[in-house]
Point group: C2
Chain length 322, copies 2
């Protein structure tokens, strides 16, 4: 983490966030402490709490409230991953065994619930009703997105569905990570709106890049096969761009009609077609556009080490290779 | 519901609570509305929101905030039941099919999460940071209790463990149902404390009576076999009283040593011994003691239709047959 420049201004804060997260199991069942340790040790870039800390530091929020808020944000994210991995039966995340790979489904459900409860407790400790409302609304959006995805049938090459899905999955929490920090800072509504916009735009870009990496990254680094989204019936932006420019590709047609089914060679061929097509660059350009819009709003805020770090973070998001 | 006298002062409020709960799925995935309808239709006595409405009306809270709070309380309860039934693989609750009996485990987990999110949203809409903190703390206690129970091994005839468990399972939310209503009312700290105590005491009594009914109620009414707790290795107050007065009963000894195991005749015999012993009356007397302590605090509050209803509710709890 120390290698990524934008973390430097908040490196100490991130450690405080991690310590605060670890302490959330104090006084409760000892296995909950073990679970939190496992979840923290599996790494993760802590982009969300970094966003909260940078935003709040730039806008003059109190340090202790920011650490509390950063921990709340990371715990909300962690809890939803715990339930996600259980539902998807994922055994690894970032190369580390998931909780559900070690614990029973019941214990995993309850640990996720416990982490939600601790996220809510920390969010309440910011003493901001607005932050609480934002938290509850964000959790609603995330879960509704997951339910919509779970209940959806067939492959849809639909941009609107895609944007809605990545907003629910990723951008909503990025937006909340920045907006909540602004809400506990002494700033006006216009600044809150700039900051919300920044969080939203880089959140959308973050997920688009994730979806590109699913096609282009080294499967060893990614810990899953190339094109795993499409193989699971999940149509992402590269696939949408490809289908738009190759509407008559028989593999696209087969996928839309649902006649690809269990035919591994059909999806494998399509994954390879997408991976080597201009759709990757087109999706990348779109992510870059989101980031540029996010950065535009920052210009009106006061310059300083935090604003520069937020700019670096935005650029890191579109340039990252994993 | 209309038949139970203590509901009369808040009957209309309860209907508003139910409508507010139903509306929580508006704008989200249609199956979530179906899930809320199913969960509401399965009945339930709505004792918790009734407690909130009665307490708040007595203490002068605004009606709309009370309905919001009552819905938040009932949703928190509902969400934890949804996850509980999934973990226990229960197919029926109060004679109605559970969500997990109809939906996949993944959809059930997410529906529980969605309901938690809506409970948090409504709690935040009371605009009270104190209420939010109480909510988060209560969810933590409930979930920690479930995890402790899930991870516990062997049969423990231990009073302290029992009290802790029924506090986590039931009394904590009863306490929150009354305390939160007091927190949004124009009253002093001493009144909040009386009201908290009332909620705590009748919550403890409520669970003790539930645990007695597990031995004494008509299995048809209960929808599960007599002594189902003990059959699942869960030692409740009647069993504790019985073991205290019959320490040398070989079935008690076998259960403690874990040598009862899958021996159905051993637990069946013990269930029958407890059911026909004075342990039932002893447990009942203890529940009555909790209720009396809860009622004592109410005496210092102003008399009126709500206080009388709260007294009736407390007495109903110890006298109910199902």
């Amino acid at each position: 983490m120390a290698k990524i420049a934008f973390f430097s201004p908040v490196q100490e804060g991130i450690l405080e966030v991690e310590n605060l997260i670890r302490s959330q199991a104090d006084g409760f069942h000892p296995d909950l402490r073990a679970a939190l340790d496992l979840l923290l040790s599996s790494g993760g870039k802590r982009v969300r709490p970094a966003l909260t800390l940078l935003t709040g530091s730039m806008l003059g929020a109190a340090d202790d409230r920011l650490v509390t808020l950063g921990a709340a944000i990371e715990l909300l994210h962690t809890a939803s991953l715990v339930h996600d991995d259980l539902i998807d039966s994922s055994l690894l995340r970032r190369g580390t065994p998931t909780l559900n790979s070690k614990w029973s489904p019941g214990a995993t459900v309850l640990t996720g619930d416990f982490i939600f409860a601790r996220a809510a407790k920390l969010a309440a400790e910011t003493n901001s009703v607005e932050v609480m409302k934002l938290f509850a609304q964000t959790l609603t959006i995330i879960v509704n997105g997951e339910i919509t995805q779970l209940f959806s049938t067939g492959c849809h090459f639909n941009r609107e569905d895609y944007y809605e899905r990545i907003y629910a999955k990723t951008a909503s929490l990025f937006e909340t990570a920045t907006t909540a920090a602004a809400l506990i800072s002494p700033v006006d509504e216009q600044t809150v709106e700039c900051i919300r916009r920044y969080g939203y735009e880089i959140g959308m870009a973050f997920q688009i890049i994730d979806d590109i990496l699913d096609f282009t990254a080294d499967p060893m680094l990614l810990g899953k096969p190339v094109g795993s989204d499409l193989r699971q019936g999940l149509v992402t932006l590269p696939a949408i761009y490809y289908a738009e420019s190759h509407p008559n590709d028989p593999d696209v047609q087969a996928l839309i009609k649902g006649s690809c089914g269990g035919d591994e060679s059909c999806t494998s061929r399509l994954v390879e077609s997408i991976r080597t097509s201009s759709a990757i660059q087109a999706a990348h350009n779109e992510a870059r556009g989101f980031v540029q819009r996010g950065l535009a709003g920052l210009k009106m805020l006061k310059d300083g080490v935090e604003r520069q770090a937020m700019e670096e973070l935005a650029l890191y998001i579109v340039d990252r290779q994993q």
